[in-house]
């Protein structure tokens, strides 16, 4: 069997001991569990494959997943309020299609990026308003948004459109050296800026704290006189914006636009957020946890690539198993605190 099966069980045990040792800090437990899991996988990987133990393997996790990190950040906002956004993958594809088409027609990259951000943010805003004013389940509204965005991709083109714009190819190929043999891509910097911004917004602004309050108890938040309505709308706008940014990052990465791209990426983002310790019921979770969640998904992939004998579908199976374990952990965790 794969080395992964030997990794998972000890991790679970670790989790509970970490959770109980940090008294009062129980709310960090799920996120810490993920972090421990990640470190463990890295250590085990290093033990099995000597070349695993290099800084670049770690940095590649970031380089290969910039778009997923940004998506997970937006998704964290939505899930923290107790909502869900299924449209993000399709919005990523739409952003890529718009980028590729506009560039092909000779638009200035700056204007293209601005347009993509407006489209992504606007779609999110629209979905948020429908959810809030018509009081409809986020699941169904964002599902409609997903079909809409995906459909628009097909309207633009069924074929893959290459991106040849010098700025985009430069961004795709540029490497920012950290030391003699370590480097990152400009996309990583952008993703980290998004993460930092999201952290600041969630923890140091009233908007961010209202997001948590809504997830904790929406009725209470309303009775406390917080801006519940506008906050609920805005989180979908944030998620839409993040999808647009992710689409641009994915364009840097793949240098093309294709209407079938990013299929199911919304589910990867949700998985990363949940594995990162955010409760699907809302109110508990950290954007940094979601980043670690993405890294865990990434390292699973790296593992399977290193193993070489396993089909890449094992990634999905392992992620499925991890997701289940984390949801069960969360259930235990909420039972204990309730």
């Amino acid at each position: 069997m794969s080395p992964l099966s030997t990794v998972a069980p000890p991790t679970v045990k670790k989790t509970s001991s970490v959770g109980s040792r940090i008294r009062g800090g129980a709310r960090y437990a799920p996120t810490l569990a993920t972090l421990v899991l990640f470190i463990l996988m890295f250590v085990v990987g290093a033990g099995m494959y000597p070349s695993f133990l290099s800084g670049q393997v770690l940095l590649n996790l970031f380089i290969d997943n910039t778009f997923l990190i940004v998506l997970a950040v937006g998704m964290t906002f939505v899930i923290l309020t107790g909502g869900i956004d299924l449209s993000v993958g399709a919005v990523v594809a739409l952003s890529m299609m718009v980028t590729a088409t506009m560039l092909q027609n000779g638009w200035n990259p700056a204007i293209v990026i601005l347009a993509v951000l407006v489209i992504g943010g606007g779609l999110g805003l629209l979905m948020g308003m429908v959810i809030q004013y018509f009081d409809i389940q986020p699941f169904i509204v964002t599902l409609a948004g997903m079909f809409l965005a995906r459909g628009l991709c097909y309207v633009i083109s069924l074929e893959s459109i290459p991106v040849t714009d010098p700025f985009f190819t430069e961004m795709a190929q540029a490497r920012i050296p950290l030391s003699e043999e370590l480097f990152i891509s400009p996309g990583v910097l952008i993703a980290l800026v998004v993460v930092g911004l999201a952290f600041f917004i969630l923890h140091h602004t009233r908007f961010g704290r209202t997001v948590y309050a809504i997830g904790g108890n929406e009725n209470s938040a309303m009775l406390m006189g917080l801006a519940v309505k506008s906050t609920k709308i805005l989180v979908y706008c944030v998620s839409g914006l993040c999808s647009a940014v992710a689409g641009i990052l994915f364009s840097f990465y793949s240098l093309s636009g294709y209407s079938l791209a990013a299929q199911g990426m919304e589910l990867d983002a949700i998985a990363a957020v949940v594995i990162g310790g955010t409760l699907l019921t809302g109110g508990v979770g950290y954007v940094l946890g979601s980043v670690v969640g993405v890294l865990v998904l990434g390292i699973v992939q790296t593992f399977i690539a290193y193993d070489g004998t396993l089909s890449s579908w094992w990634t999905k199976i392992v992620i499925g198993g991890l997701l289940l374990v984390f949801i069960l952990l969360q259930r235990l965790f909420t039972r204990r605190t309730a």
């Binding site: 009062g24 709310r27 600041f200 923890h203 140091h204 602004t205 009233r206 704290r209 209202t210 948590y212 309050a213 997830g215 904790g216 108890n217 009725n219 209470s220 938040a221 309303m222 009775l223 406390m224 006189g225 917080l226 801006a227 109110g283 508990v284 605190t337 309730a338």
Partner: protein, 508 residues
């Protein structure tokens, strides 16, 4: 009391919901530095009035002025901005956040666009100290604290804004005696600092202990405003339930029930000792003998339905014990209760009792089938016979087994519900408000039916807001007050006034 301008003045407030007039031209005044109790039974309009003042509901007509300025509240935020803070029965804070956040949420001091967490903590400490809550760590999670402390933290939130008006909606319903005292100390403190306090509670004792003035509502209408010291408990209750004392006395019981058949059986069907549940009711000591009608009296909201739910296993008791035919029994769920021959006609027949989209026959058969188990289907012929029999016996109209329940009148729905339980011939039938909201003819039919069932040997626990009805039907009367059973009296020579005296907490 200082007869200055009231802090809050609500004039001719009306609020309607589809089919109901929740508030009908109600006026209300609240002065600085007083504790004002808002009194009335459940459904009298207390919550609606509070929600009008806190901006949760928008008023249809009338005028609200705060400190002389006319206001029109359409969101809680607007009401809070005008200096009105509310602490609700279920603490409306966020348990997933810290104490300091709950106190300051939405008003966090900021520095260059970022929340100044150090200032938040300092301010929270300051406010907590004012409420003698120095031991509460501002950085701890709210969920780590007891409901009582959470309640006080909710008050701290209103102190933080220097609220001029503090509304406390049933703040004591889940607190124990010590916690209530701590809360009252804080409330008096705030009153002495000039805060106007609106207090709603079902506990008469607490209202008399704390309030200076009271406003009584009944059925969405204003009954009057009184100084607490001028209004006796008896008078208060008669105003709440809307009958003059003289009238209540005239309606004295006409119980013609024979005690003879009771003497025959020595063993009660059901016996409870000290049965209770935290936050619900306590000290339920009941013995119900076969063929006996026991009335459960008390004000609406005193804990009557809660008692019924305990006996039926709909809520699990966490103290005391229960015996069925002398055998101790853990009442785990309604299933257990039904297995032991207990039936429960709930107060809310639409929500809990009947399935509106099924026919009269389906609803009756449902109960029969449930007792037989799903595997053994009752033949259609037997169904038809039984259904026809009940329709005739109870005079259900229209006498059509295929009529949809939701098209029946309230009284006839109630009869079907009763029939549903009679089909299963339980040993004990709990009837929660079986005659509420139905016309007088159906009411008498149901009362007669209760009598008949009892004379056939069924035990009945009869819950009703109409004291006369309870007195007329019951052999014994158990009285619930302030969420505890306070008396169990034999209905030999009891008058409405006797019962009221107990409810008011005078003699006995």
């Amino acid at each position: 009391m200082n007869e200055l301008v009231p802090v809050v003045e609500m004039t001719d407030i009306a609020i309607g919901f589809p089919g109901v007039k929740a508030l009908d031209d109600v006026s209300f005044r609240l002065f600085q530095g007083e504790v004002h109790a808002l009194m009335g039974e459940n459904g009298a309009g207390k919550s609606t009035l509070i929600k009008a003042l806190t901006g949760v509901y928008t008023i249809d007509s009338g005028r609200i002025t705060v400190l002389g300025q006319q206001k029109h509240f359409s969101t809680p935020a607007e009401s809070q901005a005008a200096g009105i803070s509310t602490v609700y029965q279920e603490v409306n804070l966020c348990t997933n956040l810290t104490v300091e956040e709950n106190v300051m949420l939405g008003r966090e001091p900021r520095r260059r666009g970022s929340i100044d967490w150090r200032a938040v903590r300092a301010r929270t400490r300051e406010v907590l100290a004012q409420l003698h809550l120095e031991h509460v760590e501002p950085g701890s999670l709210l969920s780590e604290h007891s409901i009582a402390v959470q309640q006080l933290i909710a008050i701290a939130r209103s102190v933080e804004v220097n609220a001029k008006v503090l509304i406390l909606d049933e703040p004591t319903s889940s607190l124990d005696a010590d916690e209530v005292n701590q809360l009252f100390r804080v409330i008096r403190d705030l009153r002495d600092r000039g805060v106007a306090i609106l207090f709603v509670s079902h506990f008469l004792e607490q209202v008399y202990e704390l309030s200076d003035r009271m406003t009584v509502l009944r059925n969405g209408k204003l009954v009057g405003e009184y100084m607490t010291r001028d209004l006796s408990r008896m008078n208060l209750i008669s105003k709440m339930i809307g009958k003059d004392l003289e009238v209540l006395e005239e309606l004295d019981q006409a119980s013609t029930r024979s005690q003879a058949r009771l003497a025959a059986t020595a063993q009660p069907f059901m016996e409870t000792t000290g049965l209770g549940r935290k936050g619900s009711v306590s000290n339920v000591n009941l013995s119900i003998y076969p063929g006996e009608v026991v009335g459960l009296a008390g004000l609406l909201g005193a804990g009557r339905t809660e008692t019924a739910r305990l006996l039926f296993g709909a809520d699990k008791a966490d103290e005391g014990s229960l015996k069925i035919k002398g055998q101790p029994l853990k009442m785990r769920s309604p299933r257990t209760a039904i297995d032991h021959g207990i039936g429960f006609c709930s107060e809310d027949r639409k929500e809990e009792g009947l399935i509106g989209d099924l026919t009269v026959r389906d609803n009756l058969v449902l109960a029969m089938q449930a007792t037989k188990g799903w595997a053994r289907r009752i033949p259609r012929r037997v169904q038809d016979e039984l259904v026809a029999e009940f329709i005739q016996a109870l005079d259900i109209r229209p006498a059509n087994p295929e009529a949809l329940i939701r098209n029946l009148s309230g009284g006839n729905q109630q009869k079907v519900l009763l029939a549903r339980w009679m089909v299963t011939s339980p040993d004990l039938l709990i009837l929660d408000e079986p005659t509420r909201g139905i016309d007088i003819g159906a009411k008498t039919q149901i009362q007669k039916l209760v009598n008949r069932l009892a004379s056939e040997g069924m035990s009945i626990l009869f819950i009703s807001s109409e004291l006369e009805e309870v007195l007329r039907l019951s052999d014994r009367i158990a009285i619930i007050k302030d969420r505890a059973m306070v008396a169990d009296i034999s209905n030999d020579d009891v008058s409405v006034e006797d019962v009221l005296t107990v409810i008011a907490g005078g003699a006995q």
